[in-house]
Amino acid sequence: MVALPPIVANLWCVAALLVIGAAAVAIGKRNWARWLVYGCSLTVSAVSCTIAVAHLIAAPAAGSEIVLPLGLPWIGANFRIDVLAAFFLAVIDLGAVAASLYGLGYGRHESAPERVLPFFPVFLAGMNMVILAADAFTFLFAWEFMSLASWALVMTHHRDEENRRAGYVYIVMASLGTLALLLAFGLMAGPDGGYTFAAMRAHGTPPGLAGLVLAFALLGTGSKAGLVPLHVWLPLAHPAAPSHVSALMSGVMTKVAIYGFIRITFDLLGPVSWWWSVPVLLAGVVTATLGVLSALMQNDLKRALAYSTIENIGLIFVALGLAFAFQGNGMKAAAALAMTAALFHVLNHSLFKSLLFFGAGAVLNATGERRMEKLGGLQNRMPATGLLFLIGSVAISALPPLNGFASEWLMLQAILLSPDLPQWALKLLIPAVGAMLALATALAAACFVRAFGISFLGRPRSAAASDAHEVDRLSIAAMAMLAVLCLLAGVLPAFVIDALAPVVQAVTGTRMPVQTVAWLSIVPIAESRSSYNGLLVFFFIVSSASIAAFAIHRLASDRLRRAPAWDCGFPDGSPVTQYTADSFAQPLRRVFGGFAFRAREEVHMPPPGDGSPARLTVTMHDLVWEFIYEPIARLVNALAVRLNHLQFLTIRRYLSLVFGVLVFLLLVLASWG
């Protein structure tokens, strides 16, 4: 058997996914179609993931490439897989495997499978193609393909007014992002039209244009990743899709955007300048803080998860900004550290965000509710889901010994290197960014205490929650797989860092020191400075917890006793007297809500003698929407009204218009050179 080059094998996987999608159109309505579609997607993604991981481990210096006679005739469709692509491919296909496995179980409850099944594998194929593309045309085509496939999935339940709005906002923002990327690639291709990535790499971009390309790249990839203020579509669209697709969009598609950003800035745009870090750091930190604050205010479980995705994207962009700052100043080791942190967090976020969305999907299946105010007490009814959701929450809250801690710790280590930077602007900016990052991380923990506590603990707040049952085994298997990976990546981060080393080497030109040495401690810079051993922390936590449990159960009493909860002296048995999601968020809303959302609380007391209850109303504003998007929408509307009469001109007027434009263009041409 002749070994296929990896790129060919990966393209065959993409082709297979497209064929599955086409077949699903025909069989979508059958009962067994779910097994076939998700089963095949699972297999193909697993194969693709294996190839990518093998490529990552072998890490050949030259990528594997191929040119297909498609696309632009004088360029063809260029595909290439190098270590950077291999890493992101592995992340994407890992997410795809989990989502397909979850879909096998979850898909049973889908009311309109014929609208999900064809687009699911096609969406996966689109994401794979973006990563494999090696020229601007193929990249943009795949990018748009991915956007449209995911848009179709967002519109699955299009009869719901809210979903239609989500789809509309999403497609507008996606088009804007593609336009920005188109301009970025156009600038990089230069006047000779070198649209292949190899040509862009070879001739570089003039420094004057680099800033513009960076701006367009931030706009284009940021709108897909969810950078503030381009994030408005994300909390609408991600929850609107079926949960396994939400997991893919949030956990995986945002990573495709990050890949695009890294590819454009680090690979194609040529040598990195330090000042690039300033806009990236600012965008990242604003995104992280605003994302997590918004997540804290949400009542809808899936929407809170979507906002938390925005926060994590902000963290990743902060790490990329740090990498710019260090790389631009020639601090190679520090740049490698920051880049490792960014890539590690990419992997981690894809793991735990998929896990959490699966958990939210399980809750949605079991109760039919996404509003936390209607949940509660699910831990007793869905113990496995509850435990796995808890693991995901701990991981995303960056608590040791799980993986979120490892990557965010690396980020903070990189921030601690900022005093060595020569520019005062960065010396002052980066510690402030670090402080905001710490704040965001703490708020994220609060956010997930709230999400888990309100949904799974306490007493059920509705009949749907009290009648909930555990979900099927396949869904649980998918979640368990991700939870185990979260734990492994957290306990043994040294292996992950070493596996990332070739990618970091390819992107920044250097790598972190080998970490899999004695005792598996990770040492980012020097032992004297800082080190972290996930395994040790894990054993400490496990052993101390077991000893404590043993002590309590053996030395004290091991009998289970049930007693009424302390009711503060008001013996009202109603579950509404429990802490709610809103009341949990109230202190934070009072501290941060005033400037972030212009939150106002008003208490309406009934007049004396009136027996009706007092009312507390909270009003919050989405300032990004009100100050950026609404003015733009008004402007577009006003222009449309102004230009409307152009639709009703006479034939001669139209001809005159064409004639005038032609003459104008000729005049421009005549006066140009």
Binding site: F648, L649, T650, I651, R652, R653, L655, S656, V658, F659, L662, V663, L666, L667, L669, A670, G673
Partner: protein, 220 residues
């Protein structure tokens, strides 16, 4: 010989532009059609000369098509048409002749500047031809913009198309298929427009496009 070839081609192409300018100030429809026929004759001569100079026998066919269709069939058909429509004596009040001619001269100058600058590397004969061709195209468009009568708009369109043929034949090595298809597309367009003219006439008792606009209730 080289010099002579250039001069004669220049002469014909320049005459074509001149006839285009003549078209602009014809306010009687029958005179307009006659001038258009004359333009087609000049075009045929120009194309034939190109065929001789370039040694491309298929261009003679193009010239023959231009002569037979544009100089004879279409003008005769148009004459019959305006006679049947009863507008052969009509005087069209075009936009003032002075400004129109000035605009026409400006367009010719513009196309010279554009083409001569854009094609610095090309063969001299092709450059001159292209510049004149663009002038003819722009003058045809100008005529379509300034006239109200549907028939004169048709003539404007076809004189525009003459410019295209001039460009196509002036450039060496243009495939024959292109020229043929351009010629036939004009014929088809002529038939379609002719049919439309009668339909407009049936409905509005006029071929003045004003009537269409009035019917739509538009304010001009």
């Amino acid at each position: 010989m080289e010099r002579l070839a250039f001069d004669v081609a220049h002469f014909f192409a320049g005459s074509l532009v001149l006839v285009s300018l003549m078209l602009l100030y014809q306010d009687r429809l029958s005179a307009l059609i006659n001038v258009f026929a004359f333009q087609a004759v000049v075009l045929a001569l120009s194309v034939a000369w190109q065929a001789y100079v370039q040694g491309a026998p298929h261009l003679y066919l193009t010239a023959a098509i231009a002569l037979s269709v544009k100089a004879i069939i279409i003008p005769v058909a148009l004459h019959r048409m305006i006679r049947r429509l009863g507008i052969h004596r009509e005087v069209e009040t075009a936009v003032n002749i002075g400004p129109t001619m000035l605009a026409g001269l400006g367009l010719v100058a513009l196309s010279m500047v554009v083409i001569l600058r854009a094609t610095a590397a090309a063969d001299m004969l092709a450059r001159e031809d292209l510049a004149f061709a663009l002038s003819v195209v722009l003058l045809g468009l100008l005529m379509m913009v300034t006239r109200r009568n549907a028939v004169s708009q048709v003539i404007g369109f076809m004189s525009l198309e003459n410019g295209l043929i001039l460009a196509a034949t002036g450039a060496k090595g243009m495939p024959f298929v292109v020229e043929i298809s351009v010629a036939f597309s004009v014929l088809v367009a002529f038939i379609v427009i002719g049919i439309f003219l009668f339909r407009i006439r049936e409905r509005f008792d006029s071929v003045n496009l004003q009537a269409l606009d009035d019917f739509r209730g538009e304010i001009r």
